[in-house]
């Protein structure tokens, strides 16, 4: 059977080859446990580097126009890319 490993990269702009500024890893195999603050080293310098290492991109954040009057409001990280690997596990 397979389990999903998830990698989320936050990049410096909407291009997949832009530098990584934040990241998260969730391991559905249960072999590793990742959590907030557990790493200081970016897993991949760019999204493209993750693709080259076999991660499959399945979602990218949209580019939305700024609402009038709210052009300077900033909230969540904008350039979010979700990757997966399907890993065979033994029951």
């Amino acid at each position: 059977m397979t389990r999903q490993k998830i990698l989320v990269l936050y990049l410096a702009n909407s291009a997949l080859d832009a530098p990584t500024i934040a990241w998260a890893v969730y391991d559905g195999t249960g072999k590793t446990l990742h959590m907030a603050g557990d790493s200081e080293e970016v897993p991949y310098p760019t999204g493209l580097a993750a693709l080259k290492d076999g991660w499959r991109l399945f979602q990218a954040s949209q580019l939305n126009p700024h609402a009038r009057g709210e052009e300077f409001d900033i909230a969540y990280l904008k350039y979010e890319f979700w990757f997966e690997q399907l890993v065979e596990v033994t029951p």
Binding site: N13, I21, W23
Partner: protein, 310 residues
């Protein structure tokens, strides 16, 4: 009335505006740290099958830290002679709070954050994990800001976790732990420090408790407070007058003074996105305008270019 405390300098205030925190290492005397630890009380040894929150609740109920209503004047919050009353009376603390909040701050809430070693989680059937990164309270659209003082009464090593925070995130308007999926952000800091260290935080800074993988229980005491009056020009403002002229931008041959307000406000964080990093600069200028009472202040022409009042 005790002597007037030393106020923050303009570079310190600019750093607070830009990065959302000021850190002072080992500034609380050992005697107060020891008194605080005695008042905070010991945590009972882990018991198999006992819920961790029960152990936590018993510790909070039994200690000498008072239960205080929100809205109490800060000066009336702690019994005279108690560790926190003595801490708040330190000249550095009085000066920082006066600079950031003005006279007579108002108490919001406090909490004794206890982060347990793995043995406690194992005994209660839980897992040792860090706290999700979050912004305290709820969406807060104000320009005014509250201050949260984080007090580390004992030495914190990296295995003990420490508070994790991300400098420069405080101007983002987010909804508490909605950002919990961000596990690691470039530039994040972990509070590894000596006993008696203080962090003064803008209420909006993203932070979370680090997992404690040591064999020692970790304590951190947090107090949130707000201004009761004006926050405008409450620090040692003299060095910013008269306002410095605009410095050359983009095509620059001469480095500017790194201690100038403009240079501090225009220093990016490692996690800045390339476009919204510029919005961070705009919002820093807006916050400096609010604090300095100078509606025409600008740094690197960001607001002037937009007509001045964006």
């Amino acid at each position: 009335m005790s002597q007037a405390p030393p106020l923050l300098s303009s570079p310190q205030m600019a750093r607070f505006v830009a990065r959302g925190f000021l850190r002072f290492d080992a500034v609380v005397p050992d005697e107060i740290n020891a008194q605080f630890m005695a008042e905070a009380g010991e945590v009972a040894e882990p018991k198999p099958g006992e819920r961790l929150m029960k152990t936590y609740g018993q510790t909070l109920a039994a200690n000498a830290i008072p239960e205080v209503s929100a809205g109490t004047p800060l000066s009336q919050t702690y019994p005279p002679g108690s560790a926190i009353a003595r801490l708040l009376d330190l000249p550095l603390v009085r000066g920082a709070l006066q600079s950031l909040l003005g006279d007579d701050p108002v108490f919001d809430h406090h909490f004794l954050h206890i982060t347990f070693p793995p043995a406690y989680h194992a005994a209660s059937g839980g897992e040792s994990v860090s706290q999700h990164t979050h912004q305290d309270s709820t969406i807060d659209p104000r320009q005014a800001f509250d201050v949260q003082v984080m007090y580390y009464p004992h030495k914190v090593t990296r295995p003990m976790g420490g508070t994790r925070f991300i400098p420069g995130t405080h101007l983002r308007k987010v909804s508490e732990v909605a950002l919990g999926r961000y596990q690691n952000i470039r530039g994040q800091q972990h509070m590894v420090c000596e006993a008696g260290t203080l962090l003064f935080l803008h209420h909006g800074i993203w932070h979370g408790g680090g997992v404690n993988l040591s064999d020692r229980t970790r304590y951190m005491f947090k107090i949130r407070m707000r201004a009761s009056g004006s926050q405008v020009r409450r620090w040692d403002v003299e060095p910013i007058e008269p306002r410095a002229p605009q410095r050359p931008i983009f095509y620059v041959k001469t480095p500017s003074d790194p201690e100038s307000v403009a240079a501090i406000l225009m220093t990016p964080e490692p996690w800045f996105e390339q476009d919204t990093g510029r919005l961070e600069f705009v919002n820093r200028v807006k916050l400096w305008r609010y604090l300095s009472g100078d509606p025409a202040f600008d740094a690197d022409y960001w607001m002037t270019r937009l007509g001045g009042g964006a």
